[in-house]
């Protein structure tokens, strides 16, 4: 371990250039979409006065949640002292920063007035969880940047554990903040639960690790770096535990809700007759995001199964955030219990939502931005060890 060598990726191959070009094109498409939405107004999106947060928010929240989770590998190394994870810590910190950048870019570009970001930086209402989040996100960038510096700079290595602890605590608070955006919304039946904060934390563990696993496998494979079974075996088990924890919290969330009579109708909507949201819940969130990964992770030990499980966790995670954000808005707000309600403003009916091309392009653009930043950073600085082979790690 003492002789662990990190090295930048070569980045002169045609494949690397093609990767950058493809991701760059997606980023440009996202920017063009944001520019069009900004000039035309949001009526060109599928968003309405009933579904005010659409696909961009689904991806932004997914990326932000995953960002805090991607830092876990570094935390396990420096906070919990697991030496095996140490060689992975730099990549973990990098992904935490790039995923957050991708998510925040989508969030900001979807604002009605993105050019007023400076207003959000200068006018604060400290009762707003969004206002707290502005500090939590910028603080996270700063903290992880310093944490990465303590990993890179030999003289600063001795501070790494303390910075790692600070970043770990910060990320727990950050994800609590993200979950509380919804948890504190008393006006909507689908939200309004303190359970959303810990649910978001376990979601972040799972989504962040899934993305980390896929990026690590791809980076090692495409740059010809050995990746031993010992590392992957640990990550496989960890991802299994996290995916199971997400399922557990989702079960507790819905069971608690099912116990309350006034929540029966909203639960019926999500679990039984909510159309696309019910389908996405059972097939996307539970089956693809939970049961399939668990079967793959604990049923087989192949690398392909691990990669497939990580991909399933990501797809199921996007479905989960979609059901929560879009489904939670689509379900009509309860204002007149015991009454059928109708109006020209779509009161009392399930709101319809079909994402348009611009918002899909913006959402995917955020993912592409996170990945292109990662690919560039790997070429500029030595984030990856030359080898993660079993023998070298055991040394």
């Amino acid at each position: 371990m003492a002789s662990l060598h990190y090295r930048e990726i070569d980045g002169r191959s045609g494949a690397y250039a093609a990767l950058l070009a493809a991701l760059g094109a997606l980023v440009l498409a996202g920017l063009a979409a944001a520019w069009t939405m900004e000039h035309q107004g949001h009526h060109i999106t599928g968003m309405t006065n009933r579904i005010v947060w659409g696909l961009p928010h689904v991806f932004a929240v997914f990326l932000i949640v995953a960002a805090s989770g991607a830092l876990n590998v570094a935390s396990i190394a420096s906070v919990f002292g697991r030496e095996l994870y140490k060689p992975l810590a730099r990549l973990s910190g990098l992904l935490a920063v790039t995923l957050l950048a991708g998510g925040l870019a989508v969030l900001v570009l979807d604002l009605g007035r993105p050019e007023r970001l400076i207003v959000a930086m200068t006018h604060y209402n400290f009762k707003s969880i969004f206002a707290w989040n502005i500090f939590l996100y910028t603080g996270f960038f700063a903290l992880v940047a310093v944490y990465l510096w303590t990993m890179f700079e030999r003289r600063m290595n001795r501070h790494s554990a303390r910075l790692g602890l600070a970043a770990f605590v910060w990320r727990l608070v950050l994800t609590t903040g993200t979950g509380s955006i919804f948890g504190f919304l008393v006006a909507r039946e689908a939200y309004d639960s303190a359970l959303l904060a810990p649910l978001f934390i376990v979601m972040s563990f799972s989504f962040g690790l899934a993305i980390f696993v896929l990026v690590l496998m791809a980076a090692c494979r495409w740059t010809g770096r050995p990746l031993g079974d010992a590392v992957l075996e640990r990550l496989r088990k960890l991802l299994g535990v996290f995916a199971a924890a997400v399922l557990y919290f989702v079960a507790v969330y819905h069971l608690t809700s099912l116990y309350m009579t006034r929540q029966h109708e909203v639960e019926r909507f999500f679990l039984w007759d909510g159309g696309i949201y019910t389908a996405l819940f059972w097939l996307g969130q539970v089956l693809i995001g939970g049961i399939v990964p668990l079967a793959l992770l604990f049923g087989t030990a192949s690398r392909r199964a691990l990669a497939a499980a990580a991909l399933a966790v990501i797809l199921g995670g996007i479905a989960q955030v979609y059901v929560l954000i879009i489904g939670g808005q689509a379900y009509p707000q309860l204002m007149f219990p015991g009454k059928d309600v109708s109006s020209s403003f779509f009161d009392g009916v399930v709101a319809s939502y079909a994402p348009s091309l611009p918002e899909a392009a913006l959402a995917v653009g955020g993912v592409a931005l996170a990945l292109v930043l990662t690919a560039l950073a790997l070429k500029v600085l030595p984030f990856l060890p030359r080898s993660l082979a079993d023998g070298e790690l055991a040394a």
Binding site: N49, L111, G112
Partner: protein, 241 residues
Amino acid sequence: MNPDRRQLLRWGAAAAAGAALAPGFRLIELAQARSPQEAASRLQRWGLLIDITKCGECDACVTACGEENGWTGHGRAETDPQWIRTVHLRDRRTGYAQTLPLMCQHCEHPPCVDVCPTGASFKRADGIVLVDKHTCIGCRYCVMACPYGARSFVHEAVSGQKPDVPRGKGTVESCTLCVHRVDRGETPACVEACNRDGGGAMAFGDLNDASSTIHRRLVNEPSSQIRADLALNTGVRYQGL
């Protein structure tokens, strides 16, 4: 001193006293009115009382609000703004049908103000909940937080704006209780229209003023708040709900 002269002096003294005191009385009157420069006062709490038993199948309040505030749409129901709307209720068990106008409820503890990151959503001292169009960044968190679905996001460019009612693409807006009219000492457009062309269901006034009609009615007659369970203490109250 002859009686005529005495009489003249008496009248003169009365006129002088009147001339000296009258401006004082006028000042008291002026002091009670609010000048445009003066801030709204927390001594007042503006509100509405809506008797929905008098609310029939008309849209006088909705039409008047649209014309007064210039929010008429583009024929796109899902994205056009609606500051006030007619809501139809039907009891699931008995089938009993009712109609009521629904708009921003001007809560004492507005969730939209709590969640707004920049403070653009704010409550005036006199209880009117507004959006500052200069600091709204269009994040729509307030739309998520409003229990009444009362807020609209401006989805496209606006034209033909009213001088008193600033609006803007990419910001959020809702009923202002016709704050520009209230500050001139008038009633909101919906209330005026309801009493002129509708069923006379809507009343406007200062909930804190013990001498006002709305206060007296709230003291002596039953009324309710929508989603009273949230304890937001709405400024808009309903009767017959």
